[in-house]
Subunit: 114 residues, 2 copies
């Protein structure tokens, strides 16, 4: 029983961590940020983010699998869009938190620095 509770708890935590990792990459954040304004095709994302095309595609695959973005075929383009407004909420809450902790985060060198 305690075991089951533990499993449930850790499963929840693992899911949260996995979702956070989805956002924990500058490239994916750039893509999501661009898509927050308007739906965009891959080559448009490549232009705006200045990432390589395979790189963008790889991240889009990841974001698509995770359900964070959705895609619609439009002729020979494939247009991607944010899947839920909750994503926008999450991103703006992060900015709100950054208003408070930006300095500390900037200074923390325990992991990959900016």
């Amino acid at each position: 029983m305690a075991q089951i509770v533990d499993d449930r708890k850790s499963a929840t935590i693992e899911r949260r961590a996995k979702l956070f990792r989805g956002f924990a990459d500058p490239s994916r954040l750039a893509i999501l940020g661009a898509l927050c304004n308007e739906p965009l095709a891959v080559h448009e994302l490549v232009e705006r983010t200045e990432l390589s095309q395979p790189n963008v595609s790889n991240h889009l695959r990841c974001l698509l699998d995770c359900g964070l973005v959705a895609s619609d075929r439009d002729g020979r383009f494939i247009r991607y869009r944010i899947s839920s407004p909750r994503i926008t909420v999450l991103l703006s809450d992060v900015d709100a938190l950054l208003d408070v902790v930006a300095e500390g985060v900037e200074a923390c060198d325990n992991y990959r620095g900016a």
Copy 2:
């Protein structure tokens, strides 16, 4: 000028990514989750999270540097607490988003699985 704008933009994105990475680890989430209920000393966190003591200390150092937690000495204990309610907000945002995308996140195997 466009360069400056780019720098600002990417600096913002880097900060966001770095902050997200702070949350993108099961151990740190377990610690933050425990601290959301009540302030706790290190050895209490060790008990509840079942992580090793050095491991907990390392993560606490990271969270402290980032400004996500604060610490108060209490005799020979050091009590840690969440630094801002915005952190709790962020965590519940993630849960809200998971209500929508949990399946996809679970299924996505592009990075470290649960």
